[in-house]
Amino acid sequence: MNETSSCTTKISGFGLGLRTDHYHDFVDRKPVVDWLEVISENYMVPGGKPLHYLDSIRRDYPIVMHGVSLSIGGSDPLDRGYLRELKQLIDRVQPGWVSDHLCWTGVDHHNLHDLLPMPYTEASLRHLTDRVQQVQDFLGRRILLENVSSYVAYAADEMSEWEFVSELLSRADCHLLFDVNNVYVSSRNHGFDPWVYVDAMPARRVKQIHLAGHEDHGDFVVDTHDHPVRDEVWALYRYTIARIGEVPTMIERDDDIPPLDILLAELAQAREAAASAVALAA
């Protein structure tokens, strides 16, 4: 597709998710972070504090936008009002790119505010392809979709998740926000090999990586974003970078949010992991 809107904001290196707890750190201290990711919906409000801090922080940091409510896989019609608001925010922020999740969030106009898994079927693929194209046409830019973690699988599934994801990326001509932790979480919950998943990802479509912590319950794993990144996920991350090369990477922390310095130290770990993976692959 043609990118009609200007994508002048260059994103590279290592970022963090912007959380309200750290507003003052970013405004006052301007710590070294290559870019920040904001949750779009947090700023789809009329005015006040959220937009004040967003504008202020945007002056010092490149930003990418990450949504949770697009419901690209939903069977209700696309929410045009939501898309218009999203576009307004895009105009304001001039983000490096815009992402949401490869999931559905509600049905019959009941929003469950959760990232619910798709059935991995041909019918889902056709439905998603059509909707991704509608959204990309409306926004005038390619979007990134993120693989979500899941706890159940559908009886109707016709293919593996990695086959489904890579097929969608090529049919819909969109990009991937590859969440390495989500791959790990789902691999444990469904008993598949996460390395096979990584191998199936089309390298040129992976534009961003998420790292996060999870909660291990033994026979299942929950994607909680309230812990540091675990060793198994670091290993999978190094493997991903060795295979597809360096991709802008960030750490997501949504609960039990520690002081910013702790996240900066964890981000330094990501830099080292990526550098060692690149060196190993060379």
Partner: protein, 271 residues
Amino acid sequence: MMSVATASALAAGMTELQEQQRAFRLAVVADGAAAGLLAAGSSDPLRRLQIYRHAYRSRLTDALAANYPALARALGDEAFAALAAQYIDARPSRKPSIRWFGDGLDDYVGQHDVLSHPALRDLLRLEWAICCAFDAADAPVATRDELARLAPEAWPTLRLELHPSVCLLDLDWNVEPIWQALTRDAETGIEQALPEPVEHRHSLVVWREGLTPKWRSLEAAEAECLRALQRGETFEELCRSAARRINAERAPAFVVGWLQRWLADGLIARV
């Protein structure tokens, strides 16, 4: 153009997907059986559904508590969770953003006898107004100097406008001391005995000063005047209606006094 065959395949797939999503929704929000929906897989899918069920309720309960922190404190965890559970089932979220979850709570508690004390309804109305003032639209505020520069003949027909964050509430209970005590508790982490609610019909104005929501209780005459301004009445009309409540000669002085306060507080949008 899409071919007829492609379009009908898309429609058939869509119906199938819609049925799957409806069954999934019921399984999550109403503990539906979801027979045949989920793969048997390596573990018990019904146990796994619990993760979604739990996440659904806890996420919405947290969102409600974030919008009504004083109410949550006043009720305590257990009673607040019970109220949230009823509200979640009665008023499913229809907005894309979870930020608005709880926008119908005032209406809901008005229709169902679910609060242990009627003053709690006024408390939650105050909280929702604060919540809306927090991220209401930005607009420049009028200053005293700007108004002072107006020609005297412009005053009678002057129509002032309220800042978009301004919200006027009519309350039946004196909930302000209760809100203050609960908010102080949240800041200090020390729980203190709450003041006894006192029945007292009055008005209150909520607005945002800079980035911070504020509120102030109003006497009846000032509230009436602010409402008249909100309705778009001219300055002359404001004085006239104030004169019906207060001494006719002193009414303009009162209105000017209130206006000075409103300007200082940032209640009036730039003319």
